[in-house]
Amino acid sequence: MANIITRRGILAAGAGAAALHASGALAQLRVQGAAAEAPKLAIESGATLRILRPVRFVQPDEDIFRANAARFAERTGVQVRVDFVGWEDINQQTAVTANTGAGPDVIVGFNEAPHLYADKVIEVTDVAEYLGKRYGGWLAVAQKYGKRHASNNWIGLPFGGSGGPLVWRKSAVNEVGFQAPPNDHAGFLDMCKKLRRINKPSGFALGNAVGDGNAFANWLMWSFGASITDEAGAVSVNSPSTVEALEYLKELYATFVDGGTVSWGDISNNQAYAASTCWVTSNGVSLYFALKNDPATRAIAEDTEHSILPPGKASGWPSAPLSLNAMVFRHSRFPNAAKAFLMFMLESEQYEPWLNANLGYWAHPLASYRDAAVWTSDPKVAIFRDCMNNPFWNGYKGPLSAASGQANNEYVLVQMFASVASGQATPQQAAQEAERRARRIFRR
């Protein structure tokens, strides 16, 4: 097994180097760390590490990640093995790992994952504080996802975030008389109505879609000033603002694409947008790049713009980025090696090439990386640069907890909106049902 790892590592290192070389301007490193004293981590002798992370968006992501891991192995003699699993499976695999106390040493999970397993992971405060000092501080969401609630103890190391802005076809929006989508709810609805009239409708996922569905539901909630819980974590979903959001959605849904979006999964809007069936949606940058990289759809990519969804009552962009969040498990026999590994990966020498290789799919959690070449490589990805600085997270306004993760994964908000959109419930009934479910979930 050891042989395989090393060989794979070397192969990957080669591929990564090639990818770096090919990408020209992106190969430039621009971020310099400030002086800070790194924590002394005594790497255990004979340490080996197993890392589990979600699959790549783009091939260079995997190549450079592996190359960086191989370099760590070279420097420290710690053998590192990286496995990639599907997005939907990472939560399950994390659950199994946490529950059974065996398996990978480090899992790069999503969002609140370290908070779900808070007693199964070790604190990484020293590493986090050092990295914060060195690279201009952690951005807002990164702090929220990294630190245990109401403390300065870090249990997760955010690795990157992916925002989901409004994705729209310039030609269609212009055709109905707008330069860009309006920044207020009424104007946005008006635009969608007009788009519907010229048969170039919008469409947002309302199905059980972990990413897009929750993102859309969260936008509706937060832009109307509603939230599932208050700051203390008490359920606050059944409020006048929620009902207002539901009423708004009812009107908005009527303008959506034919066939409706109540059954949309995460990939449905990508399909519909790529086929010019749907002209305005919200998604991560994956949609844009998929269009851009396929000669057959490049024209659509050129006609595509990104902007933030109407913020309404929110102070900033009301979107919680999907964040990679690394955690080191207590059962790891080599915790120092694991921490050293994560620290190594987040240092500019490794992180910046990786960030650049991701072309904007992932945005940095540390402020200094805003200067990375990737953010000027294509004006259309610039909007993703600061998405980890949004003051919103899954479960806003409450603390991150198993419950906030559960509410997200059980689609409490998405289903509340979907039941109104499909006419199964009135806004009041839907809000009550959501409250009933939320009370159960947040009862502890």
Binding site: P54, D89, Q93, V96, P104, G284, Y361
Partner: protein, 310 residues
Amino acid sequence: MTDARAAATTADDHGMAPPPDKPQATAPEALSWDSRSRRVVTIYVPLACFLFILLFPFYWMSVTAFKPNAELYDYKTYNPFWIGSPTLDHIHLLLFKTDYPRWLWTTMIVAFCSTVLSLVASTLAAYAIQRLRFKGSQYVGLAIYLAYLVPPSILFIPLATMVFQLGLFDSPLALILTYPTFLIPFCTWLLIGYFKSIPYELEECALIDGATRVQILWRITLPLAVPGLISAGIFSFTLSWNEFIYALAFIQSTEKKTVPVAILTELVTGDVYQWGALMAGSLLGSIPVALFYSFFVDYYVSSLTGAVKE
């Protein structure tokens, strides 16, 4: 094929008479024509409909496997039923850019081993229950049958804990040992039925002649039960090949995954599906089982009857 020939071949083909609703081939000319058109309406047309509906999703999968990405959703410019410019890209991606051949190999090993394991265990159990007739054998039989009622979706969390404790996590052995939990009950039941159909007298004679019970099992019962064994084997092989939840929960390394899990977890990147490769992968992955079936389908059919033969 004329009715006369049809009738003639039927007789020696499967040893059964012409279907009851069909008059004998000796019927008068007019009646025979009439029966032929009726046959088309009552048999061939419905059969064609069945085939069309059963096979359409496969047609769709095959077409998708060779379609370039640009044609996938663009129904306006391209006829979705046909491929504008067929491409082997997806197959190439599958075979050379992923671990597909390894997944296939792992799946085969897992399916084969768990099938053999289940067959051995169920043959012995069925033999003990049906032939050795120990006290309470019926209840043991019932208990094994009831084990079939426990769906894997209940079991996989506690099982995962055990798999870890036993140090089997991320090893094909975990699957080889857990798959028999849903294979043994069915196989045992099938084989009990099959052993029933083997006359007791044979064994009694052998016992009188001084053969040991092990000899009887090995020399008499088993050879006679081969069709039943094959049938149970096919069934187990298919179920292990298609198993999803355990394989998802117990295996973590890319190269140790089984085909259904690997295809789903490795060919879906974020919110982008590699449709072509997904479909190519599932079709290719089905070929070994399909081959298996086309060789053994007759055994399968005949042994199922054996299991419930009067």
